[in-house]
């Protein structure tokens, strides 16, 4: 009885807190707060204490166009959408793929690039195609497209075990240590991981193709329109390709 009452009070307290939290807005009008997860090279990663990469560069360019100041907040990938939704961040830019589920919670701008999910394995691995993943332990980054697709295709079918790491590099580290058999992750960070870790390779097969876009709070249609307009300008001027080209060499 007593416990039930205490729980009820707690729930009410939580409701109140959440209501307050969801009413607070971020920073002043001229600062654009960008939520990201800076362990996703070359889209976003740390260099000399600063978050750099394709996404920050694109957003800097957009902010320059809009006359705003960019502020980057690094957080867990699976918190980004929540942060945008609750107003703690204005936008989420983290190599995020547009999905149906995500569209329920936030709006997305037009895509700014396309990417694919690939499979990283050790060089001596018997895994050669996605089908070979059956019966194996697959590492992913929690909440990424790789996580969601692998969960649907393998774990829910009882075909493989999925281990969800908070960061992409930790999944790769676990792979190099033999703790898991493969990592499913976005192609561009995968290239960086394979370059910096000996004995790893990317399977030739393309597993999933997807488009990245910027997440914006559903209420904030004004910002969405501004971002889309700015993106269109960058595309037209070739600036967008230039930024991406700085990080990704044409294949």
């Amino acid at each position: 009885m007593n416990i039930a009452k205490k729980i009820l009070i707690t729930v009410l307290a939580a409701f109140t807190l959440l209501s307050v939290a969801s009413c607070s807005s971020s920073e002043d009008a001229n600062t654009l707060v960008m939520a990201t997860n800076a362990y996703f090279p070359p889209y976003e990663y740390y260099e000399n204490d600063k978050v750099v990469g394709i996404d920050p560069d694109i957003m800097e360019a957009i902010c320059a166009d809009l006359g705003m100041t960019l502020k980057i907040e690094d957080m867990e990938f699976d918190s980004i959408i929540t942060a945008v939704q609750s107003g703690k961040a204005d936008i989420g830019v983290a190599g995020m793929t547009v999905t149906e589920d995500r569209l329920l919670s936030v709006s997305f701008t037009d895509p700014y690039t396309t990417a694919k999910q690939v499979i990283i394995v050790t060089e001596d691995s018997p895994i050669a195609t996605p089908d070979d993943l059956a019966g194996k332990t697959i590492g992913v980054q929690t909440g990424t497209t790789g996580d969601i697709v692998i969960t649907g295709d393998y774990e829910d079918e009882g075909l493989a075990t999925v281990e969800r790491y908070n960061k992409g590099n930790e999944a790769v580290l676990a792979l190099t240590q033999g703790k898991i058999d493969a990592v499913v992750i976005d192609n561009e960070p995968a290239k960086v991981f394979v370059e910096t870790n000996e004995g790893l390779k990317i399977l030739e097969t393309e597993y999933i193709t997807e488009e990245y876009a910027i997440a914006v709070n559903k209420e904030n249609t004004e910002l969405l329109e501004k971002l889309n307009a700015s993106l269109a300008k960058l595309k037209e001027s070739g600036k967008l390709d230039e930024i991406i080209g700085n990080y990704i060499k044409a294949e």
Partner: protein
């Protein structure tokens, strides 16, 4: 801004978060992992903590075991001086670097070792709080040092420190919530996974919080009962 609580889609959101794709299983399985880690870590912690406390208080009382005392001091300093999540990552990625090892075992070891340091200091305080006359009475009857500790000092010390031990158990339960760092799907990570699928902060976080809260309240009650029972047995 939308007030999530007043939105009409409360039931829809509940369904999205827990019913769709059997997402409630992340919570239930996670709870199992959390409890497994906590229970075994607490056992390791108590055994380890007791040993360390005995070494430390023996050194303080008699000056013996100084080498073991030094080792114990290093252990206490390192464990209490670093965050448990860092210890967990070190044990997983460095100590068991190239080993394929069950992550639950890693977590049990990490949290057990961590808790042992805090339990040790709790027990040491408990042992030192027992009047030396108790110790002398035991020795004068012919009990050796270990027997005196075991039959006479420790039971009394245990009773004195029970509230602090109960508190440590509660802290430990909550600290296991960083298990997700080594890709273990404990209760918190279970909620995080749902959150990453549904992008809804409210339901998964509140559900997880309520489950922790409920367990903590049950534990508090149990410790209280045990305490009362032990207290009835003297004075």
């Amino acid at each position: 801004m939308t007030n999530l609580l007043l939105s009409a889609s409360f039931a829809e959101r509940f369904t999205l978060n827990f019913i769709k794709e059997d997402r409630w299983k992340y919570i239930v399985d996670g709870l199992g992992v959390t409890l497994t880690i906590t229970i075994f870590a607490v056992i390791i912690g108590i055994v380890l903590g007791m040993l360390v406390a005995i070494v430390r208080s023996t050194y303080e009382k008699t000056g013996k075991l100084w080498l073991f005392d030094k080792i114990c001091r290093v252990y206490l300093t390192v464990i209490r001086g670093t965050p448990v999540v860092v210890q967990l990552l070190i044990i997983y990625f460095i100590i068991f670097g190239s080993v394929k090892i069950d992550k639950i075992v890693v977590a049990i070891i990490a949290f057990g070792i961590n808790s042992g340091a805090y339990v040790a200091e709790i027990f040491r305080a408990g042992i030192m709080s027992i009047d030396n006359g108790q110790f002398e009475a035991g020795r004068s009857l012919g009990f050796n040092y270990a027997q005196t500790m075991f039959y006479i000092v420790m039971p009394q010390a245990f009773k004195n420190v029970l509230p602090a031990l109960g508190n440590e158990l509660i802290v430990l339960l909550k600290e296991t919530s960083v298990s997700g760092y080594i890709a273990l799907q404990d209760l918190t990570k279970g909620g995080d996974i749902i959150r990453s699928r549904t992008f809804d902060a409210f339901f998964p976080l509140i559900a997880v919080a309520l489950i922790y809260l409920t367990i903590v309240m049950i534990l508090t009650k149990l410790v209280e009962l045990l305490e009362r029972r032990l207290r009835n047995s003297d004075h």
